[in-house]
Amino acid sequence: MVLFYKDEIKGILEALLFVADEPLTCQKISQVMGIEEHTIQQFIEDLQKDYDQPHRGLLVEEVAGGYRMVTKPQHIAYIEKLYKPQINPLSQAALETLAIIAYRQPITKAEIEIIRGVSVDSVMTTLAQRELIVEVGRKEGPGRPIMYGTTKRFMEHLGLKSIQDLPFIDGLKEK
């Protein structure tokens, strides 16, 4: 058992919630801080009360059995304004790669590289980050390479229903 000042516990809790990239359970925080879970629970409730005040822009929400720090919903318009100009258009290389994946999925990176004749590492990373493509399985055979396909988000962007709606998939699958 570690001894803390009350303020210190709140500060550490706030710092932990800030850096966590997924909801934190009381159990996890308890392990990290060496404090009992029910104490953590109390302090989180205390923290939530602090955050409730109108001059605070964040809140601590309970989600999926844990807690996470998010912005208050009323500020979303400003966050969108901050982010919107930062969304870059897709490059020609990204569009070409996306076109190949869309028509030939599931397809491995090596197969895409054969078609495009260049390395597609960074382009694939960009497309995956933007949630336009996703790993859909592994190809049988040596090395069992990862196969990629397009996402629901990709379909939404193009106003299309779903991958299953595409005809002639069988014809595309063979080479």
């Binding site: 982010y83 258009p89 897709l90 569009l95 028509y103 004749g117 962007h157 229903k161 005809p167």
Partner: protein, 238 residues
Amino acid sequence: MEYCVKLSIFEGPMDLLLHLIEKQELDIYNIPIATITEQYLAYLKEAKELDIEFASEFLVMAATLLSIKAKMLFPKPQKEVSENYEEDPRKELMEHLLLYKKIKEATLILKDLEKNQRAKVCRPLDKDKFAAKLFTNIDIPGLTVDGLLAAVEQLIKENKKEFIQFVVKNKYYINEQIDVILSKTRQYNRFLFRELFGEKMNLLEVLVTFLALLELVKMQKIKVIQESPFSQITIVKI
């Protein structure tokens, strides 16, 4: 003197030289060049270093030291020395050492700053991923059916055999689309590529129609106009 350390603990010959000088509290402004050369060479001899490329950088300094030592031993004849100014052969090395010493000082400052900064953690945030979540319903600029078609066009232009194979495999369907386009040209002299589709078009249909379009252009039945990349494609009857 014991030489139990490796050369690689030093950042280079300057670092070693500065280390020898500071360890013995020698005066940089008046370096006992014979002593320091001897110590430096002894160090090189004892240090069992296998990396020749790294060691060669230390040897360059050894040569410099020996040359300074030689100049000190054999001063220039009296008449060649200018009246009011006598060049010390150690001057350049002295200035270099003074500068390097300051760089070491600066390095420590940077190291401290880095250490302090590493104790403050930013939120791990993937901008693109975050933006993707924020704007699920907003278009990514450039990602349109037309944009994708432009990319396909580019691929075909570059003679990618995979796509040609695809064209061959779907010949029948392409012929069907050729008929669709031709029948439309009988009605209109000029129309948009987009008008060939209903509100719900699917991607493959768009692609095949596009390939049919290229086929018709080749057959010189139609002309295709696109003002700029990603803009609307206009079909004109010939």
